[in-house]
């Protein structure tokens, strides 16, 4: 779509200040555009696959994010050492930190993202609410500096309310408050937590909308134009973290879609925002409420890419290089439906993150399936970073076909040796609410594990492994079974379990 401009005359080196699948994703587009991707890695990431996708990567040391991927000085040093003029921050880490953007600018480096000024607005929930309120509905609420103010505001807007850090993001540090007593108890804690997590103790309160849908609009902007690439439905969440995203949203009518995308563009214009961004909304009773602008490429960007054919990272790079947007709104034609399932190394029922070594990683070769990942057989997942290990993206002409394709690929995908959220996804994709498209952020509360009857039989037999049934179909000479292992189960009393398998922990 964007081949009419030639970047090959440029010799820019791009430093990818990130790790894992997103670093690989960015490196791919860099190579496509004849830009050279360079990388960094921490001591915990010496065996990371993203290193192999870079021309060269430097060890910036450290294990924790603070020691490594959040350390601005080390990253700037690496950029200078590698002769990189551009820095792509990916998502998370420093991607939405205006100080980092400023730091890059001062060092003469091009930060691939919005300007310091725009990021100062998007990173401040109170300011971005204020700007957005000039354009659209926002949820009642505001910043509060002390407990008395908080109590007054809560009384005015009515419980339940939600406490958020002004500088927060990513669904972390949210508290739902249902009474004055709870508010009194939580206020000081929230302030402290915000200070520790985000380096600022500013807090704001807003009316808590129970069980909304979460719908966001992907935008691309240069100095003179803003376009949108449609919306993404992100209501399947646990603990305010997304697990499944799809586009288009199964709930929006054409009118609603026009309205929400128009609003998103107006907000982006009002913020004088450039580069790729996402405008997030809550949707309840056919009404939208602005939530926030995410000033980064998002984890779930691939679903938009597969339906529109637009390489969002390419647009980010072109905008940052000053070439501007290569596509107009009328060029964007969405086709079909796409779904993303985030595979995390987490216990499939409790969602407890579980690092470990992946003994086998086998991906199915299926048409219409894209897998963005940085894992491989033998890879040890470090415990210092987030638990996302792969993103499976399915696309098809219709939503139901995309669901079927996703189910098939997840049943064939093998991630062995660690627990993963694959069973969660298969259960969700088989849930009547998901299939009908009628779901909201409370989806997971009523979700039941889905499994098959013949799989139960397989579980029973496989639970007798390794030695218990290995004589089956083996050559007689090889048979070396400890027979006791078989007979000992014969007299076992029925075990009564009170383990609640029928519910996912939120």
């Amino acid at each position: 779509m964007c081949s009419h401009f030639d970047l090959s005359s440029l010799s820019e080196n791009v430093l990818i200040a990130n790790r894992g699948e997103i670093a690989i994703r960015i490196a791919r587009t860099c190579k496509k555009l004849d830009l050279k991707p360079f990388g960094i890695y921490s001591d915990a990431d010496k065996n990371s696959l993203h290193i192999k996708y870079c021309e060269k990567a430097v060890d910036i040391g450290g294990f924790t994010p603070a020691e490594s991927y959040l350390n601005m000085n080390k990253i700037i040093e690496a950029a200078n050492a590698l002769g990189c003029e551009l820095i792509h921050p990916g998502y998370g880490f420093l991607s939405e930190n205006p100080d980092f953007a400023m730091h890059c600018k001062r060092e003469g480096l091009t930060f691939i993202g919005p300007s310091y000024e725009s990021m100062s607005i998007t990173g401040d929930k109170a300011r971005s609410r204020q700007v957005a309120s000039r354009i659209t509905s926002i949820v009642d609420g505001g910043e509060v500096s002390n407990e008395v103010m908080a109590m007054d505001l809560a009384e005015k807007i009515g419980f339940p309310v939600i406490l958020k850090a002004v500088q927060g993001g990513g669904g972390r540090g949210l508290r739902i408050i249902r009474s004055f007593e709870e508010l009194k108890e939580a206020f000081a804690d929230s302030k402290n937590e915000a200070m520790i997590s985000f380096g600022s103790d500013r807090i704001y309160i807003e009316k808590y909308i129970e069980n909304p849908r979460h719908i966001e609009v992907q935008v691309l902007a240069d100095d003179s134009n803003v376009i949108h690439l449609g919306e993404r439905e992100c209501s399947v969440q646990r603990r305010h973290q997304k697990l499944i995203e799809e586009t288009p949203s199964p709930v929006l009518t054409v009118e609603m879609r026009n309205s929400i995308t128009k609003t998103a563009i107006a907000i982006i214009n009002e913020m004088k925002y450039t580069n790729a961004g996402t405008v997030e909304f809550l949707f309840k009773n056919n009404k939208f409420y602005f939530m926030e602008v995410n000033a980064r490429i998002q984890v779930e960007h691939p679903i938009t890419e597969v339906v529109t054919g637009v390489d969002i990272v390419e647009q980010q790079l072109r905008i940052a290089l000053g070439d501007g947007l290569m596509i107009k709104q009328e060029d964007v034609k969405s086709k079909g439906h796409a779904i993303e399932c985030r595979i995390n190394s987490e216990h499939p029922l409790s969602f407890v993150p579980t690092p470990g070594t992946i003994t086998k990683f086998l991906t199915p070769e299926l048409e219409g399936i894209r897998i963005d990942t940085a894992i491989y057989s033998g890879y040890s997942i470090p415990s210092f970073y987030d638990s996302l290990i792969a993103k499976v993206i399915s696309s098809a002409n219709t939503r139901l076909e995309a669901i079927e394709k996703m189910k098939n690929s997840l049943m064939l995908l093998r991630v062995t040796g660690i627990p993963s959220t694959i069973p969660f996804h298969i259960s969700a994709l088989n849930d009547a609410r998901f299939i009908s498209g009628n779901y909201d952020t409370s989806f997971i509360d009523e979700l039941k594990p889905f499994s098959s009857k013949d799989g139960e039989m397989a579980a029973a037999l496989l639970s007798l492994l390794p030695k218990k049934i290995e004589f089956l179909n083996k050559d007689v000479q090889e048979m070396a079974v400890d027979p006791w292992a078989i007979s000992r189960f014969d007299t076992i009393d029925l075990f009564n379990s009170n383990y609640n398998i029928n519910k996912w922990v939120r």
Binding site: H347, P348, L349, K360, L410, M411, L412, R414, V415, T416, G417, I418, P419, I422, P423, H425, I426, S427, P449, F450, S451, S452, D454, G455, E456, M457, A458, A459, A460, L461, L462, S463, L464, L465, P466, I469, E470, F471, L472, N473, V476, Q477, M479, A480, V481, D482, P483, W484, I486, S487, R488, F489, D490, T491, I492, D493, L494, F495, S497, Y499
Partner: protein, 146 residues
């Protein structure tokens, strides 16, 4: 063997290369690897086994809870022949106290000598139901504990 999967009880009997479930269906089971099984030609792959009671298993992308009481707590009352064969040695007498992993019988089956071990410590043998040289069927009771 009685195993509870997702709160459903399965009674599994292994007879040669066939598996009988709940005294009813007979399945043809082929083990391809330590983590792959074919049941009636349908492939199942095991990706993860989580410790615990019940333990969890991820098979073909789906999660199962599996309960079997640990042998330490199991009330084991008898020893049965795991496979059809011939008793070539009887190594205990009625009335004796046996220790965990002590060899009780040697059973010859499919040209192999299999040692049948005691499952737990301090078990007292009440009765021995077979004699040396006797042929036994799968599941036949060989010994009863007190």
């Amino acid at each position: 063997m009685k195993i509870k999967v997702n709160n459903t009880q399965y009674d599994i009997e292994i007879v040669g290369d066939k598996v009988r479930v709940n005294n009813d269906d007979e399945l043809i089971v082929k083990q391809l690897n330590s983590d792959e099984l074919k049941i009636n030609e349908k492939l199942f792959h095991l990706d993860f086994t989580g410790e615990g009671e019940p333990s969890i298993m991820i098979i073909n992308g789906m999660v199962y809870t599996v309960s079997k009481e640990s042998p330490i707590h199991a009330s084991i009352k008898e020893i049965k022949a795991p496979i059809a064969g011939r008793i070539v040695k009887v190594l205990v007498d009625a009335g004796s106290i046996v220790l965990k992993d002590q060899v009780l019988f040697v059973l010859e089956a499919m040209k192999m000598e299999n040692r049948l071990l005691c499952p737990a410590n301090g078990k007292k043998v009440k009765e021995i139901k077979v004699v040396k040289g006797q042929s036994v069927m799968t599941g036949e009771v060989l010994l009863i504990f007190e």
